[in-house]
């Protein structure tokens, strides 16, 4: 039994809070490397799923830069719309998950940490893709949105995917992954008083 589980929930919460500044700092400064797989996944989805909309995708720090085939307006001949998506917005659950893992400090925790972080990458990619689609299909205005060819139903799906990917997934996924990977710890935590 780990010390955190033996000492109970208050000590575990305090340990998690103590780890948060450390994990947030590491996440922020290592983001270009840590989030590259999520970027690569989003890039693949954008390139193969929306090839008619996407001309090029690159990563600048922790920002995905998507150069589209869309024109900004009739007056701007030759110009192309570019969309920036901040990957940090969809990955702040990673430092939270890391703090929870480090506070629990179960056996094989480095492996659990690596698996958990890897499991979150598709959801970060979800946020990036949904953010891009919302930008071009909804917030960019009718002059650009009309070029995308999305139907009303598709636009509503994009809004839902974006809201779910922004408001729910970034926080729920780390907590859910942590619960799934720490079931024995949780049971000990539950019975400790």
């Amino acid at each position: 039994m780990t010390a955190a589980a033996q000492a109970g929930l208050p000590r575990f919460v305090l340990l998690t809070l103590a780890w948060l500044p450390v994990t947030f700092a590491v996440w922020y400064f290592a983001a270009p490397i840590l989030l590259y797989p999520a970027f690569a996944l989003a890039e693949a989805v954008l390139r193969f799923g929306f090839a008619d909309l996407v001309r090029a995708v690159s990563m600048d720090g922790s920002t995905a830069v998507v150069l589209t085939t869309l024109k900004p307006g009739q007056a701007a001949a030759g110009g192309q719309v570019s969309v920036d998506v901040n990957l940090l917005l969809y990955s702040f659950g990673m430092p939270m998950f890391a703090a929870l893992v480090l506070a629990a400090r179960e056996a094989h925790w480095p492996r659990v940490l690596a698996i958990g972080l890897a499991a979150m990458l598709p959801f970060v990619a979800w946020g990036v893709v949904a953010d891009f689609l919302r930008n071009v299909a909804i917030t960019a205005g009718p002059a650009i949105a009309s070029q995308t060819g999305f139907t009303q139903g598709q636009r509503e799906t994009i809004v839902f995917a974006y809201q779910f990917g922004t408001l729910i997934l970034p926080t729920v996924v780390p907590a859910a992954v942590w619960v799934l990977t720490h079931r024995p710890f949780l049971e000990r935590l539950r019975t400790s008083r």
Partner: protein
């Protein structure tokens, strides 16, 4: 375990989809967001009388700084996650209802702290405000949801939701 997660995701998707409907926005989300701004402003006036709430906006009459409470900052999504976690977990309804009542108060209580702290942080340093707003408080609120759920699970009588063995979600693999 599988039943818990399937139910958890289904209830969450259902409640979140409902939250996005115009009816829920008009009759629940917007009134609640306005009330949150009013509660936060009222609490702040205890030590800072230069704060007022207009709809979902909390404003300083001294320097004109204002924060607008938007989706993601009104605690509705965090509450949805907590409600889904409690409803999906096998437990007697009496305990579920008690957990929902206490849990929602705990989550929204911390959310009031978030709103007030961001209001002052924004007046002090915009960069720190953005950081706290976009990343740190989001994580802290979800940590709050997780801790509240863990506390609730600990209060459940042993043997409930799975006989004498631990409930499925917490049963060791």
């Amino acid at each position: 375990m599988l039943r818990f997660f399937v139910l958890f995701i289904a209830i969450q998707a259902l409640l979140f989809g409902f939250e996005l409907t115009p009816w829920a926005q008009a009759h629940f989300v917007e009134p609640w967001t306005g009330a949150l701004a009013a509660i936060s402003s009222w609490l702040v006036t205890v030590f800072d009388p230069s704060v007022m709430a207009i709809g979902k906006i909390m404003r300083s009459t001294q320097n004109g700084f204002a924060v607008s409470i938007e989706a993601g900052c009104n605690g509705v999504e965090a509450t949805i996650v907590l409600v889904a976690a409690i409803l999906a977990f096998p437990a007697p309804w009496k305990h579920k209802l008690a957990g929902l009542a206490a849990g929602i108060v705990a989550v929204q209580g911390l959310n009031v702290v978030r709103v007030i702290s961001l209001f002052y942080l924004g007046q002090w340093n915009r960069e720190w405000f953005e950081w706290a707003h976009l990343y740190v408080w989001q994580a802290l609120i979800m940590l709050d949801v997780l801790v509240v759920w863990l506390i609730w699970v600990r209060t459940l009588p042993r043997g409930n939701g799975g006989g004498p063995t631990p409930p499925p979600a917490l049963a060791a693999a």
